[in-house]
């Protein structure tokens, strides 16, 4: 790893050198001005917290606080176009001129619109953009909508998006994955733009950032490797943490719920009522030029399945230090400790809630401790340029304990039989340039090193060096071009495969009319194999798995064409067609002649599909609906080593649903609200026929209806949710039933 270490040092020195150069040439205004004001609802005059206010064509901007107020301090004197945006409202622009030492005050009155998608997103190109200017399908979910679902994790909210399936840490966007238990995720999780997959298995931990500490989740559908590198083959999920407000605020959110009993007596494995709950405390304060937002929380879920319970606590914080007029340091950190059960699949369909992947005498309990720090330094170099230095450090410690079952005939001793320590360190330097209002340029370098020490994987280290360039250009008034590429070089241990990857992307948006926009994009994605896939050596679920250091990355090519149209301010429809070709997909394979399994690059596939989303305001300000539908046509194109078609050639991919429908209805009458959400997934057509999971072929489509109702005031809100109201029994993964009907109560109190 000598080459890796020297490369890391070189990249850090390069980044710091460039930063120092630009800093020394920074055009810091001698006497700055500021812009402040308020954003309110035009019809009710109510303040709008969480609205985005930016100075067009500059890096300056702010979000409104609880009273709708915003403040953009230390801007260079001059003329600006100030843009205010908020989900559910039409965006407004105002021109303003500020003289040195002056403070301009503005009032924005936003007109409500159920279908106006006036969201600002950053995930598509590492710069702030109007969501309609992005050439790929991108969803943004704000804090208010996250709270609407009474969900304990972001993953549970993403299930309500069309084309997105989530089962635990396993996420699939537009059919990118079947079921892998999260191992080697083909969707990249980011925390404020920083890659956040586990260093050993490359999977997702939704609990690392509590849902209450998130201000926006952005979901990019399609490859994001040209911007973020490995794992972004199927898409990207970016969790953007909440920023500290201007005023001191304490917020308490509690969630308590209970699962219904299953209808069938043979499924009742416990006589106890099964509860779940969580409690979070948020604290925000501004101390001079330092703002802090701290969250402490506790979560416990007894679960409706045997040995599937979990409990833990988490502490996260975001600090923002305005070091100088042009320099900001953000510090995101977290500490989490949890214990979880090990339910993977059922004993059989007659005992569908009893665990089948453990011996009769014992259970496995996993204990995990995670710590992370993500410092981000942002320095505005001029009105048209700023750069960011991001560091990331994450440490994960896991232990698997074998504990005797309470009623086991033989009480074996409690023992730790497996453990793993993983760490990630990364450094990124990013420069954003806005040479004109028509052009935006983003470039940067990134170094990432992951290390793991465990019984299963041994002591391993991998590193990734990369450089990227993104260009957004308004060619003519209606036409925008988005162009970018990223080079990733994996540096592996001696004897392992090392490879370089160039992942380009090209996209266009064309504003056909004031309310209609066409988009077109194509790009390449890849996923480097995780340490677990390369180096694993263990016996799991009766399967002996051996390492394969020669494993290569998976690759994909994707293209999408889409159209978004708003009609009369009350109806918005978005339609898209997409196609993806996957190659060298990593699959576990039985080694010929041996009773051993090894991960190998064997599978090839293609996915065609279309997606339709529609939002409408049926009864202005009272009744809104959303509808989303995704159709997937998947085909396995794998061949055997001799070139002949594999047994699954031409068949649909395993564990993909052809049809996915989501719909919701929201009724709001003053402070009262009620909502219904419905999800449908057609029955999967292909599953593993040779497996150790009993009754894996027992399949049904999914119909889930969730009902919610509540009352919301300025400082207090109460919401009751009945999930899976029809008590429909469906699968979320092979041999694994989805949540039974459950009733929950969420109370949020702001002091």
């Amino acid at each position: 790893m000598r080459a890796t270490k020297s490369s890391v040092v070189a990249a850090v020195v390069l980044g710091l050198g460039l930063g120092a150069y630009l800093t020394s040439h920074a055009a810091v205004p001698e006497q700055s001005a500021s812009i402040r004001g308020q954003v309110v609802d035009a019809s009710t005059r109510a303040p709008l917290p969480g609205a985005n206010v930016i100075l067009a064509g500059t890096p300056y901007g702010a979000a409104t606080d609880e009273s709708g107020a915003f403040s953009i301090p230390r801007v260079k004197p001059g003329r600006y176009v100030v843009v205010a945006r908020m989900i559910g409202y039409r965006k407004r622009e105002q021109e303003v001129a500020v003289a040195p030492g002056e403070t301009a005050t503005l009032l924005f009155e936003l007109q409500p619109s159920a279908v106006e998608l006036g969201q600002v997103v950053v995930t598509a190109s590492r710069m702030e953009q109007d969501i309609r200017e992005v050439p790929v399908t991108l969803h943004a979910i704000g804090a208010a909508e996250l709270a609407r679902y009474n969900a304990s994790t972001v993953g549970n909210v993403l299930r309500y998006l069309p084309g997105v399936q989530v089962a635990g840490s396993n996420i699939s966007i537009r059919g990118s994955s079947g079921f892998s238990g999260g191992l080697g995720s083909r969707v990249l999780l980011l925390v404020d733009g920083v890659p956040f997959l586990t260093p050993d298995q490359g999977d997702i931990d939704w609990d690392a950032v509590p849902i209450v500490a998130i201000r926006q989740v952005e979901i990019l559908k399609g490859p994001g490797s040209a911007v973020y590198g490995s794992n972004a083959m199927g898409g990207v999920v970016n969790l953007r943490p909440a920023l500290p407000g201007e005023e001191r605020q304490i917020r308490i959110r509690t969630l308590t719920g209970v699962y219904d009993m299953p209808s069938y007596s043979t499924w009742r494995w416990s006589d106890q009522t099964r509860y779940f709950g969580s409690a979070f405390l948020d604290y925000e304060q501004q101390l001079g030029n330092v703002g802090i937002a701290l969250t402490a929380g506790w979560k416990e879920d007894m679960s409706y399945k045997e040995n599937d319970d979990s409990k833990g606590w988490i502490f996260t914080g975001l600090g923002r230090w305005e070091i100088g007029p042009n320099t900001t340091l953000d510090l995101i950190g977290g500490l989490k400790k949890a214990e979880t059960g090990s339910f993977v699949y059922w004993r059989n369909l007659n005992h569908a809630l009893s665990i089948g992947n453990e011996p009769l005498t014992s259970y496995t309990r996993t204990r995990e401790a995670t710590a992370y720090i993500l410092p981000v330094l942002t320095r505005v170099v001029s009105d048209h340029a700023f750069y960011r230095v991001r560091l990331r450090w994450r440490q994960i410690h896991t232990e698997d304990w074998r504990v005797p079952r309470p009623n086991a005939p033989v009480q074996l001793p409690r023992e730790k039989y497996r453990g793993s320590d993983g760490s990630t360190f990364g450094f990124e330097w990013q420069l954003n340039l806005h040479p004109s209002v028509l052009t935006s340029l983003v470039m940067g370098t990134d170094v990432d090193r992951s290390g793991v020490e465990s019984i299963q994987y041994g002591k391993r280290e991998v590193a990734d060096l990369s450089a990227y360039l993104q260009l957004e250009q308004r060619v003519t008034s209606p036409l925008r071009v988005s162009l970018g590429a990223r080079w990733d070089q994996q540096v592996a241990e001696k004897g392992s495969s090392s490879s370089g990857q160039l992942n380009p992307k090209l996209g266009f948006t064309y504003q056909i009319s004031d309310e209609g926009i066409l988009r077109l994009s194509a790009g390449r994605g890849f996923r480097a194999p995780s340490i677990a896939e390369k180096y694993i050596s263990t016996v799991a679920s009766n399967i002996r798995i051996i390492p394969n250091p020669a494993l290569k990355p998976e690759r994909s090519w994707s293209a999408e064409v889409g159209y978004n149209q708003t009609l009369g301010g009350r109806f918005n429809v978005d339609a898209s067609l997409f196609a993806t070709r996957y190659s060298d997909l990593i699959e576990p394979q039985l080694v010929p002649g041996m009773l051993q399994v090894q991960f190998r690059n064997v599978a090839h596939a293609r996915i065609y599909g279309c997606e339709l989303t529609a939002r409408t305001e049926i009864w202005p300000r009272y009744l809104r609906t959303r509808l989303g539908y995704t159709y997937l046509d998947t085909k396995d194109l794998s061949r055997l080593p001799d070139g002949s078609p594999s047994p699954g050639y031409g068949k649909p991919l395993k564990y993909r649903s052809r049809h996915n429908l989501v719909s919701s209805l929201d009724l709001t009458v003053k402070r009262l609200f009620a909502a219904a959400d419905f999800r449908y997934l057609s029955k999967v057509e292909q599953v593993d026929r040779i497996t150790n999971i009993p009754d894996i072929d027992k399949l049904v489509p999914t119909y889930v209806l969730d009902l919610r109702a509540g009352w919301k005031a300025k400082r207090l809100s109460v919401e009751v949710a009945l999930e899976n109201a029809l008590q429909y029994y469906y699968l979320i993964s092979p041999g694994n039933l989805g949540p039974l009907r459950n009733l929950s109560l969420q109370i949020e109190w702001t002091l």
């Binding site: 005498t361 699959e587 599978a603 049926i618 419905f678 009993p694 029809l726 029994y729």
Partner: protein, 226 residues
């Protein structure tokens, strides 16, 4: 004029709301009328009807196995008082040879022979009464079904001559030297001798893992679909 427009707009909104509520009611009826999803199978797997004289404890049975050096094959009686009422003592000499293979994809291969030689001690006889040995063969290659939390195997296509051995309970243990030991427990059987048929007994095969096992049952498939 303005009033008319407002009332027309209100009427329109009410119509839309009514249509929505009707559509939702129809959706509700459609969904609530549909099947309830997964349900238990109508019959239990054979397991509840099967009673193992020794309780199998399950474990990881996948591998290639050969008879253990220590007590590879023993016979137990379901009710030993039945034997004591008949004879003073009964000794069964047993032999087991062959291999047992189970792969993780539901395939097995067994090729083994067993032999039981009963020696009956009856009161005043000095020498035991040695009955003719009862040989049997276990041969089969096919699929196994794993029931009840992985502690019972049902073997499709296993052929035997005298005993019923296609339903086996299993327990996997670790010896102090780290080697895995697989115990296969048969369901109750009876002797094929006139007058002895009512005596129920069972077999316990004690197998140890064969080192450097190479198993090729010809099944290649992914267990982790992606």
């Amino acid at each position: 004029m303005g009033e008319d427009l407002r009332s027309a707009s209100l009427r329109s909104n009410r119509r839309v709301a009514l249509a929505t509520i009707s559509a939702l009611t129809a959706l509700w009826l459609l969904v609530s009328g549909c099947e309830k999803g997964l349900s238990p199978t109508r019959y239990e797997p054979v397991s509840p009807a099967v009673h193992f004289p020794l309780r199998p404890l399950g474990g990881d049975f996948v591998g290639q196995w050969v008879p253990a050096k220590d007590r590879p094959f023993r016979v137990g009686f379901v009710d030993s008082s039945q034997i004591r009422a008949l004879v003073d003592s009964l000794v069964l000499e047993t032999q087991l040879r062959g291999t047992f293979q189970f792969d993780p994809y539901g395939n097995y291969r067994i090729d083994a022979t067993l032999s039981i030689t009963p020696k009956v001690y009856i009161g005043f006889f000095r020498q035991p009464l040695v009955l003719p040995p009862v040989p049997d063969t276990l041969r089969g290659e096919g699929t196994y079904h794993n029931y009840e939390s992985n502690c019972m195997l049902v073997l499709d296509g296993l052929t035997t001559r005298a005993f019923s051995l296609d339903t086996l309970g299993y327990t996997v243990r670790f010896r102090p030297d780290g080697c895995r030991v697989l115990e296969l427990i048969s369901v109750p059987n009876t002797f094929p001798y006139p007058g002895f048929e009512w005596i129920q007994f069972y077999f316990v095969f004690r197998l140890e893992e064969k080192k450097s096992s190479g198993l090729a049952l010809g099944k290649i498939s992914s267990t982790r679909p992606r």
